[in-house]
């Protein structure tokens, strides 16, 4: 008897002004899943993008079918955490993949996430830029230094058992993500960190897969002092409360 597949994988794609990238990431996802024979659905949670993202999403729904592309938009920008909660309500898969919709995360790693999950029966599989042949494209020395420095700080202070705490390309078992969303309260980078930290607190297991992160946006949006300050504040909050 042939081995059962992983069941359905639900991909949560929160979008804001991703009119150009959305069709590309959906195309890559669809191709990856059909090439590896994995049942899937893509849940697009658009926060009222003014650039026409929703029109593009509707065209994609027509092309790929409304059983594969689920449009679940919201009226305005309400944040990533609530986007996940909102999207999860409609997810019918056993596994949920969260990723960025701007092509910095490549869908080709999802079958590797699934393979890793099976290998160790992990509750979470996290893509890491810092181990193995994981890496980044499009970052200058300063950006890389900040990244490595911040990561070092989180490792020393939180000892999280995962090498890439601020990464947002992950696979969760559905029940695990539901449980975590109840407990996590932070925003932005810190939210991703808190998920892993709380997961470890609750006894969940985390596996890792090296991924490549292709940053095509960095040139336009440098990492500002504000973001660094809020990262540090969030890190210290997690340090003191978990």
């Amino acid at each position: 008897m042939a081995a059962r597949g992983p069941g359905r994988v639900s991909v949560l794609l929160p979008t804001y002004n991703e009119r150009d990238n959305l069709p590309l990431v959906v195309w890559l996802l669809a191709r990856t899943f059909s090439d590896s024979g994995i049942d899937f659905e893509i849940i697009i949670i658009d926060d009222g993008s003014p650039d026409g993202t929703q029109e593009v999403a509707q065209q994609l729904e027509k092309i790929y079918g409304s059983d594969k592309i689920l449009l679940r938009p919201r009226a305005r920008k309400l944040g990533l955490g609530t986007a996940y909660i909102h999207g999860m309500k409609y997810a019918t898969g056993n596994f949920i993949v969260i990723m960025d919709a701007d092509l910095s995360h490549h869908p080709k790693f999802i079958p590797e996430f699934i393979r890793k999950q099976k290998e160790g029966n992990f509750d979470i599989v996290s893509g890491t830029r810092y181990k193995g042949n994981g890496g980044v494209y499009g970052w200058d020395l300063k950006r890389k230094l900040i990244s490595r420095g911040a990561n070092f700080l989180t490792q020393v202070l939180l000892r999280p058992g995962a090498s890439d705490l601020t990464g947002s390309f992950r696979l969760y078992r559905k029940e695990v993500l539901e449980k975590l969303m109840e407990k996590c309260v932070s925003k932005g980078y810190v939210f991703q960190m808190e998920m892993i930290v709380r997961a470890r607190q609750l006894g969940f297991t985390v596996g890792e897969v090296p991924i490549s992160f292709v940053d095509r946006v960095y040139g336009e949006s440098k990492l500002g002092g504000n973001e660094i300050v809020s990262f540090l504040k969030g890190l210290l909050t997690l340090f003191a409360t978990t």
Binding site: N133, Y137, V214
Partner: protein, 123 residues
């Protein structure tokens, strides 16, 4: 019998912190925050250092030991600083650049646009 069982459970010689769990931070009952763990650890090491290094003349350890002990906290701090710099420096130097991934993505974007146009996507 009941009090004995209560003492036997946590593997800790410090009854004041029965939930001390340096080795089991994953346990759901662990409860100690990282900050609390750090403060505990620092308090332990600090009091041990103070007891030995600042002891009254009658209880002082031998002179060479005391000479090494006194500046130890500063030495450790500096050593940790060096370790941090070296580690971050090494990790920075070995941070992989994904040239191939970027090139592959460009290719795929071209293919995706063409295919989507064929399938009826109008931008």
């Amino acid at each position: 019998p009941v009090p004995l069982m209560g003492l036997a459970l946590p593997v800790s010689p410090f009854p004041v912190f029965p939930s001390l769990s340096f080795s089991l931070p994953l346990s759901p009952q662990a409860a100690m925050t990282k900050l609390a763990q750090w403060l505990c650890g620092l308090a332990l090491l600090g009091s041990a250092w103070a007891a030995l290094a600042l002891a009254p003349p009658g209880l002082q350890p031998p002179a060479p030991l005391r000479q090494a002990l006194l500046p130890l906290p500063v030495y450790l701090l500096v050593a940790f600083g060096c370790y941090s710099l070296a580690t971050v420096g090494y990790r920075l130097a070995t941070f992989n650049d994904c040239e191939e991934a970027a090139a592959e993505l460009q290719e795929q974007i071209r293919a995706a646009k063409a295919d989507l146009r064929r399938r009826g996507l109008r931008l």
